[in-house]
Amino acid sequence: MQLNILSPEKRVVSSTEVSSVTLPGSEGQIQILPQHADMIGTLETGEFAFQPLDGNPIHGVITSGFFEVRGGESVTVTAETVELAKEIDPSRARTAQKKAENALTDPELDSKLFRKYELKLQRSLIRQQVAGREVQTRQ
């Protein structure tokens, strides 16, 4: 089946033949295989992966968006931001994690900022996780 991943900045994945796609759905991880029923849904921030017909599986991070399965043969993902594992800089993610952790220790933090740093922390953790995964598959 064909996979398209779009973000406001670019077409991250365009019409790639894949045998499986794993996405961070709002109700938990969801894996889509060929001949899946038609489906529309929302995505949370999290890890995604897909298996191209030829080559290694590709991992990445997505922040909130939508996906659609149509006709059992095309999957389209539209997300706020999309990062592939090879684009992730683990040391930057670590710095971001430290920063967010430090900020969260502040007892004066109001709830809005708290939520912001919480999301930042979540993202940096997922990034490191995904970056680590890519290294493993390469070895």
């Binding site: 406001p8 029923a37 038609d38 529309i40 929302t42 939508f66």
Partner: protein, 301 residues
């Protein structure tokens, strides 16, 4: 005939103008490139969101309930109150960019104005606002000055929210946007687009079989709410990007033309100047020669 001195000053001033237009062209070219990149990379995303909305609307099994959808049985053309958002640029010197939009708006008003109970024009961009400010035949809506200038997603999001809110509050039964779609640097197409309410596209509806079903996760209401709030903002953002890229493209080609015309003018003036100079020299020579001839003949006699 202009004197040689006048010609010289004119050539000088045309050269100055040419330099200005040349510089403006360069600036626009740089801006166009950036605007175009932003637009081209955003288009597929905006389109896909639109497609997703269409698919949701076209699936008969999904029952939708949202204030932004067209009411059952409402026919498209005959309407009550309509809001038309006219998108132009803030600055001029961009050839027909704003003029075509204004012309299209006037034509639309003349043709369709009577079909509506009331027509309101709102503006994004100073040029359109300035033109229609003192005109009649419609209700003057808002001038969204605060959303002009540099295009950002936040501005688009806020503007979209304003439009949707006024629609949901029942101020208008229809909202359309008139803007230039960027084709390439020399052509922009004025386009009138339906913004609100959302209607299932006939083609999509025909394609979907009556018993087609789509699984919607987590549930229809949540997905639709999330999708629509995104959709309107992204469409507005795209409109702004289209207009911005179009403006820079139009200005670039206008300035290129101006530069070319100035060059042509300089060529003509220089020719005239040289002719005049030549004539002057010839005249002076004649005077000197005839003077010396006459003194010679006097000396001989």
């Amino acid at each position: 005939m202009a004197s040689i001195k006048d010609l010289k000053t004119r050539i000088g001033s045309v050269k100055n103008t040419q330099q200005t237009t040349k510089a403006m062209k360069m600036v626009s070219a740089a801006k166009l490139r950036r605007a175009q990149d932003a637009l081209i990379s955003n288009r597929p995303y905006a389109k896909q969101l639109g497609v997703l909305v269409d698919h949701m609307l076209a699936t008969p099994r999904i029952s939708l309930d949202s204030a932004v959808l067209a009411k059952e049985g409402a026919t498209p053309i005959v309407g009550g109150r309509i809001l038309l958002l006219i998108v132009t640029s803030d600055r001029g010197l961009c050839a027909g960019f704003n003029a075509t939009i204004i012309k299209t708006a006037m034509k639309w008003l003349a043709e369709n104005g009577r079909k509506y109970e009331s027509v309101t024009f709102s503006f994004l961009g100073k040029r359109g606002y300035d033109f229609f400010r003192s005109r009649r035949g419609f209700i003057h809506g808002d001038y969204f000055e605060e959303y002009g200038g540099k295009v950002t997603f936040k501005k688009a999001n806020d503007l979209a929210k304003k439009l949707v809110d006024s629609f949901v509050a029942g101020e208008y039964e229809e909202v359309k946007i008139l803007y230039n779609v960027f084709q390439n640097a020399i052509s922009q197409i004025p386009t009138l687009e339906e913004f609100l309410p959302l209607r299932p596209k006939a083609a999509e509806a025909a394609e979907a079989s009556p018993d087609a079903n789509v699984i919607v996760k987590p549930d229809t209401t949540q997905v639709l709410a999330a999708l629509l709030s995104k959709h309107f903002a992204v469409q507005t953002f795209r409109v702004m990007l289209e207009s911005q890229a179009g403006e820079q493209g139009a200005r670039m080609s206008a300035m290129e033309n101006a530069t070319k015309n100035a060059g042509e003018m300089i060529r003509k003036l220089t020719l005239q100047y040289n002719k005049q100079r030549q004539a002057n020299i010839t005249k002076e020579l004649l005077e000197i020669i005839s003077g010396s001839e006459s003194s010679k003949s006097q000396a001989a006699s």
